[in-house]
Symmetry: C2
């Protein structure tokens, strides 16, 4: 055990995700030896994030104002909504520069094991956005795992009857990957989803 405040800091750091007791100790000693201004900046960032960041009233993404950057951007295509689980998925998709529509962040995926049902996700808000007929395509970009697939199926069943085009991101081999290291399910999906090459 360390003296008072050092142990307090180690305990607090150890509560962060992915930070075990050893890393917490390492970070704490880094902080002990760091410049006071650097540490003050980190502490301020922590407080500011809590004070300033909220979730976009429309799409549920992180935002510093009522609406997030993307919902405020007039150049984005209003006819397509890409449905994701978490704000970090928005960032991942934005990085591809492939998508110019809007997003909808569910805040998770349906998971009976973790007790997350459809009512715990921002599905009502999604339906409200589809009501006026502006949106013509819904891209389901939930994670390609059990919970994500279940959520996509649930949403597709609910929304398809409304006459929208409902699509799902392709499953297949990761680009740059090695065929022999792909798991059977991914490889199977890659076969299923094979495309005609027009050369």
């Amino acid at each position: 055990m360390y003296e008072g405040v050092v142990q307090d800091l180690i305990d607090e750091l150890g509560r962060l995700p992915g930070v075990g007791p050893k890393s917490a100790q390492r970070i704490a000693f880094h902080i002990l030896q760091a410049e006071p201004t650097d540490v003050r900046r980190l502490a301020q960032c922590l407080m500011e994030v809590k004070a300033k960041v909220r979730f976009c009233a429309t799409c549920g993404n992180v935002a510093q104002e009522e609406l997030c950057n993307i919902c405020r951007d007039p150049r984005r295509d209003l006819s397509v909504i890409c449905v994701v689980e978490e704000p970090k998925d928005v960032v991942a998709i934005e990085r591809t520069r492939e998508f110019r529509g809007k997003y909808h962040v569910l805040g998770g995926a349906i998971s009976p094991i973790e007790g997350v049902g459809p009512d715990d996700l921002r599905i009502r808000e999604l339906l409200a956005r589809l009501a006026d007929g502006t949106v013509t395509e819904l891209i389901l970009a939930t994670d390609p795992n059990l919970e994500g697939e279940a959520t996509a199926t649930y949403l597709a069943r609910m929304i398809k009857p409304m006459g929208l085009k409902v699509t799902r991101l392709a499953s297949g081999l990761p680009v740059g990957g090695d065929l022999e290291y792909a798991d059977e399910v991914t490889l199977g999906r890659a076969f299923e989803g094979r495309r005609l090459l027009d050369v």
Copy 2:
């Protein structure tokens, strides 16, 4: 890229040791969703550690007052000093409950590659503590690696002529370990340091 303060927080977290961009993002989102009181406590711990913690004037361990807990403790044996590299080594040794003497924290080890020479370590302070003859044994508990061994040898050569008993922690097989997985150097040391069993 995230919006303003979220990205600022991710950047600041990413500067901590052992926290890469992915972990920084994960921690930042954890903080976004955490209770404001928890986050405030973490930020306060960070500031308090910088404000309150200093290094013990005698031994160089972390301390909240002029002297650390151990140097202030009148029950500790004044005749033995255990020399370690870092404050975390003090905690590791304290956990064994094997040692009741005092410590001396060097603040590192001699490492020509990293440009750390004897003058960068708290060796002068150590010699000052040995001057009055109270200390009769010096236990060199620097790390069992190249730098730690070099530092131990350097200190032993300097201090032995002063008539003190200078000892080094035993090298050998880790307890609970498996002989076949021990590296040759450790196994060699274990042979060298073999003890007569008196049964």
